[in-house]
């Protein structure tokens, strides 16, 4: 037989059409079991690391002498390591796991040749590990969200291509029939991420542009990473889980097209709002503000769709731990749109270069994206591993500590960041006074960071427990197949 036909049929991810839907879904879930589990496991590990680094950094602000003797633990490096572990270690890998699974589910395809995904995952982790390690030992580049040394980029790029290719192949071989809005969002995210990553790495490190052009590229990269990679994956999850679990259609679904296109249209332009009154021409600042303000439209549309659906069955939402995370995330997204809409020169004059920006970043990365990923994890992992979560209390603990922790943290960063901006803008207030006035914020940061770490630990313990159970079951099944154990009815 022609080798290409062999290859084509071997990668053809279509599930057997003669099986019932349940069985087909089972086929999909089984096929993805390994990659999804491993991506989540690694992501969770990085989440814990990032939480620890973040907590250490927060403590160092309150007490600068904390762990101050060692060069590799200086505040700048710990902070950068926390950010990059969170974004590339946890964020991207959770996104990979969710995107792969969701695309496969919605397209009705299974994933074959998992070896590629395992290798890609291993390389990704190697890259992030190397990058974060370099940050600690002197390789920090001081470029926001690109702090890892550029040598890591080809490794990450190669892994990404493998993973994204599998997602795109899923879409290519999808079941004939309708395409759902979540698939558009995933498609957009999978196609946009390599472009923004490649452009940014090229123009900042490999063929560096002159001067502030690098800063413009970086601002565009940061904003696009948040609004065109993380947010679409989160929205895809929200648009999928709400109707599935509540059993209702998305309210005003026909608007979701508009929401998708407005997000993809405007988000790319909004990057330079970070540089308002910075060393860039006036037109670049104006374009950034305009792009950022227009993001209110996709936020309102998503709010209509998601809140409309959730409000139709609030009891159903509350009863489901998954939906608690998802609805928290959707509310956070509406608020993020509001904050983006406030963008203007006057607003930027107060909030840029203060802790407000940090709050905005955490708002999008954690309150919108990570909470959606937590919900998705709690939904996907039982289906993929074939077990239930061992502890309801740990899920509750995770939800409440995460929700409380991030709400307090983001609101505090907004409020105190605003105040810091107002004080810095008043030359009659000594600069050192503005620093001392952030003391309350710094203490809140430590408390919230600790609370978030507790939540992550609860998640991790629950996950490890479930994984151990699944591993046990797997081992037992293997051993019994080889006759080393009496066949049982299957542990549950």
């Amino acid at each position: 037989m022609c080798p290409f036909e062999d290859l084509a049929s071997s990668i053809d991810p279509r599930t057997d059409s003669h099986l019932s839907e349940q069985a087909r879904l089972a086929q999909i879930d089984t096929s993805l079991r390994g990659p999804v589990f491993f991506f989540f496991a690694k992501a969770l590990g990085w989440l814990l690391l990032a939480s620890i680094f973040g907590l250490v950094a927060a403590v160092k602000i309150v007490n600068p002498e904390f762990l101050a003797g060692h060069e590799y633990l200086t505040y700048g490096r710990v902070f950068a390591a926390a950010v990059d572990s969170f974004v590339y270690g946890w964020g991207c890998q959770a996104a990979f796991a969710v995107a792969l699974w969701l695309m496969a589910r919605l397209c009705g395809t299974q994933v074959k040749h998992l070896g590629v995904l395992y290798i890609a995952g291993a390389f990704w982790n190697l890259g992030v590990l190397w990058g974060v390690g370099c940050i600690f030992f002197g390789g920090l580049t001081s470029v926001p969200l690109l702090e890892m040394p550029p040598q890591v980029a080809p490794l990450l790029g190669f892994s990404y291509v493998m993973i994204a290719l599998w997602g795109l192949l899923s879409f290519h071989y999808r079941q004939p029939g309708p395409v759902y809005v979540s698939q558009w969002y995933l498609l957009a995210a999978l196609l946009l991420f390599p472009w923004i990553g490649f452009s940014a790495e090229l123009m900042i490190f490999f063929v560096p542009a002159r001067g502030v052009v690098q800063s413009v590229v970086d601002a565009w990269f940061v904003n696009s990473l948040l609004w065109l990679w993380f947010v679409p994956v989160a929205l895809a999850v929200m648009y999928y889980l709400l109707p599935k679990i509540l059993g209702r259609a998305i309210f005003g679904y026909y608007l979701s097209v508009l929401g998708f296109w407005s997000l993809v249209t405007f988000a790319g332009w909004a990057g330079t709002h970070f540089l308002v009154y910075g060393p860039i021409p006036a037109w670049l600042q104006t374009v950034g503000i305009v792009g950022n303000t227009m993001l209110l439209i996709p936020a309102i549309i998503a709010s209509l769709n998601l809140h409309g659906t959730a409000l139709a069955d609030p009891k159903g939402v509350w009863a489901s731990p998954v939906l608690r995370f998802v609805v928290f995330s959707s509310v956070a997204f509406s608020l993020a749109g509001l904050v983006a809409a406030l963008s203007s020169r006057e607003f930027g004059l107060v909030t840029n270069l203060t802790q407000f920006t940090a709050g905005n970043g955490l708002h999008l990365l954690y309150a919108v994206f990570s909470m959606a990923m937590f919900g998705a994890a709690y939904y996907i992992l039982p289906r993929v591993l074939g077990r239930e979560w061992p502890s309801a209390i740990l899920i509750k603990a995770h939800f409440w500590s995460a929700a409380l922790g991030i709400s307090v943290l983001v609101l505090a960063l907004y409020y105190f960041g605003w105040r810091q901006g107002v004080e810095i803008n008043n030359p009659e207030i000594d600069f050192i006074t503005t620093v001392q006035n952030t003391d309350t914020l710094n203490r809140i940061r430590v408390g919230a960071g600790a609370l978030l770490l507790v939540g992550h630990l609860a998640f991790f313990v629950n996950f490890a427990w479930m994984a151990a159970g699944a591993a046990c079951e797997c081992c037992c099944a293997c051993l019994s197949r080889f006759g080393l154990l009496p066949a049982t009815g299957g542990a549950r």
Partner: protein, 233 residues
């Protein structure tokens, strides 16, 4: 969905459009800026940071100073109407006045413009102001004593020069050594109140990296005019 080609093309277009507008556009306008002179016959700025200061920039980068210090003073057009104290010869009164904060604080004489950064490997614009803006710190006379003692004391223990600061100490950029026949000329003096000091008979001396870092800080200078950037009053 019927219009898949539209979807793909649409996504592609929405990718290319901001890239062309923002990235390509700014590269075309700013990507080949050359140094300039404010008036004919004036010296040309900015100057290339070379030698020890360039090594210092590498230290600044790897220590992550950008997470607390910015290097982008905001221009005169960044004005806020606020209550200010106006002092004349004999009286002072408060009135609402337009103030450009970074310039009024003495952090710079003018806002930063793209041409100031053309020789920077990566413009270290910074993200947060947990510490003051450093773009023009090199022209600050009070910090520019020939011995740079302010900078060394500030790095060794920020509490010496800036009590209440949240800056971590960079003691690992210094070494404590036994005093030889005579004290080293590089040894830094610490005030008597400083709790962390070397034992008697020992002195604190900056390492190469501290010297380079301080040279870089002293080279940070936007105290010149450009055709598109004149000093504000």
């Amino acid at each position: 969905m019927k219009n898949l080609p539209v979807l793909y093309c649409g996504i592609l277009f929405m990718l290319i459009a901001p890239w062309c507008g923002l990235i390509l556009g700014s590269n075309v306008q700013l990507g080949s800026l050359q140094p300039g002179a404010a008036e004919d016959g004036d010296p040309v700025y900015p100057k290339i940071t070379g030698g020890l200061a360039a090594q210092g920039r590498a230290v600044y980068t790897e220590m992550g100073c950008v997470y607390c210090h910015t290097q982008q003073p905001r221009p005169a057009s960044a004005e806020i109407l606020q209550l200010q104290t106006v002092k004349t010869n004999t009286t002072s009164r408060t009135e609402m006045a337009y103030v450009s904060p970074d310039i009024a604080r003495g952090w710079a004489k003018r806002g930063a413009v793209p041409r100031d950064y053309i020789y920077d490997e990566h413009p270290l614009l910074g993200l947060f102001r947990n510490g003051p803006d450093l773009a023009d710190i090199g022209s600050n006379a009070a910090l520019s004593l020939p011995t740079s003692i302010w900078h060394y004391q500030h790095l060794y223990d920020p509490q010496i020069t800036s009590k209440g600061s949240m800056m971590p100490p960079f003691r690992f950029l210094f070494k404590t050594q036994k005093i030889g026949d005579r004290p080293s000329p590089l040894a830094i003096t610490l005030p008597d109140s400083e709790p962390i000091r070397p034992a008697p008979g020992y002195e604190v001396v900056p390492t190469e990296r501290a010297i380079a870092l301080v040279a870089y800080l002293r080279s940070l200078n936007q105290d010149y005019e450009l055709p598109e950037a004149k000093f504000s009053r």
